[in-house]
């Protein structure tokens, strides 16, 4: 943890923090450090938990959702979120090779998933200002306009968690540590 943020002892939290810890326990089976650190701001912790509860309301299946989420984690260089999502995805049957490509920000073999990865990257890098050509390439690959809006939803999820983690410097939970990740070094100039 950085910037004066700390982890709370789950047995001593009270009030709204306690409610947040209980919700995290229900949703994730334990209280991940990210929720613990965010709980200093009930708004951010509640918003994160609310949005995590809505993945199944999107038109993307769990593998497609992982492609979008992990692509954003890598672009935003979230040292906490990449290992967390690798751990969760692999546990839920996402192929290791797929996740490895995402962690390295490399193209995917599957053409349709690759177009989803590319569109997500463009949306993040260009802050939603994608060109007509980029947007049409996404639609031509077989994605719906609703899927484009769902990508906006996932970008929001990651805005909350990636940005928040940069501020709190969340310690990686032990359970995620085998999947630790570092951004590729920038090419020497």
């Amino acid at each position: 943890m950085i910037n004066g943020f700390t982890l709370n002892d789950p047995s001593t939290v009270t009030g709204e923090q306690k409610v947040i810890f209980e919700k995290a326990e229900q949703g994730f089976g334990f209280v991940p450090n990210i929720v613990n650190g965010f709980s200093e701001s009930p708004v951010l912790a509640e918003a994160m938990l609310d949005l995590y509860g809505k993945f199944s309301s999107t038109s993307l299946d769990p593998i497609e959702s992982h492609v979008v989420l992990q692509t954003i984690n890598v672009l935003n260089e979230c040292l906490y979120c990449v290992p967390a999502h690798s751990t969760g995805a692999r546990k839920n049957g996402v192929e290791e090779s797929l996740d490895e490509s995402l962690r390295k920000n490399q193209p995917l073999d599957d053409e349709k998933l690759e177009s989803l990865r590319v569109f997500t990257s463009e949306m993040v890098d260009q802050r939603g200002h994608v060109t007509g050509e980029q947007f049409n390439a996404f639609i031509d690959a077989g994605w719906s306009k609703r899927a484009a809006l769902d990508v906006v939803f996932f970008i929001t999820v990651k805005t909350l968690t990636n940005y928040g983690n940069h501020i709190t410097g969340t310690d990686i939970d032990e359970v995620f540590q085998p999947m630790e990740w570092e951004p590729e070094a920038a090419p020497a100039s």
């Binding site: 009930p42 708004v43 509640e46 200002h129 947007f135 809006l149 939803f153 929001t156 805005t159």
Partner: protein, 219 residues
């Protein structure tokens, strides 16, 4: 912030009154499409799972804002948009004006014409914000009030750095009189605006009639 139900209603009534002043007599409830082909839903055409969210708009505003009609096509998006506002209202440590400062600062960085007009109107109604502050935000200029300027600056730095802020940026924010909780609340407001700014942009959502008095363009 903690807006009472009555406060919210009064704000919504004021918004509709501004619209009436602008000559908005009625709002045809016809489902349509944006110029980039996104559906603009009505109460009738929207997916059943967002019934409550659509009712929220029609009950409070008397019509469905175009952006809500577009977001409704992705229930996860519209539900999250309203849930995040409710969380800000219920648990937030920023004042209504401060929430609007962050919202408008981010909308300005994203150059979201729909959201800049919308949050100017919101600043005159639901989240009361001084006129000179609204003007500075629209023009991407420093706010005269030092504390609000520190908030504007911090929000833009976080957003432009994709969350990465230097310890000194955070220190100046804290020195201006804010605390760590508020630093994280800013992230929640940024998330709230990413939804509307980015959806507004890719769908090219048209301004609602009632927001036209506050139209913004880059030049």
């Amino acid at each position: 912030m903690k807006l009472s139900k009555a406060g919210l209603m009064a704000g919504a009534v004021a918004m509709v009154a501004i619209g009436a002043g602008a000559g908005v007599a009625s709002h045809a409830a016809v489902a349509g499409k944006t110029s980039t082909g996104f559906a603009v839903h009505t109460v009738e055409s929207a997916p059943a799972s967002v019934e409550a969210e659509m009712a929220f708009y029609s009950e409070n505003f008397g019509f469905i804002p175009n952006l809500a009609g577009v977001m409704a096509d992705s229930p996860a998006l519209l539900k999250s948009y309203i849930a995040t506002f409710n969380n800000l209202n219920e648990f937030g440590s920023l004042s209504p004006a401060e929430v609007n400062v962050v919202a408008l600062a981010i909308s300005r960085v994203n150059e979201c014409t729909y959201c800049i007009a919308g949050h100017t109107m919101v600043g005159k109604t639901i989240l009361p914000t001084p006129d000179d502050v609204l003007e500075s935000l629209r023009n991407d200029e420093k706010i005269a009030d030092k504390k609000l300027e520190a908030l504007r600056n911090f929000s833009i730095d976080i957003y432009e750095g994709h969350g990465q802020v230097s310890p000194s940026t955070l220190r100046s924010f804290l020195r201006a009189g804010y605390d760590r909780q508020q630093a994280l609340d800013v992230v929640a407001v940024i998330g709230w605006k990413v939804m509307s700014n980015v959806a507004g942009d890719i769908a090219e959502v048209k301004l609602d009639e009632f927001a036209k008095p506050f139209a913004w363009s880059k030049d």
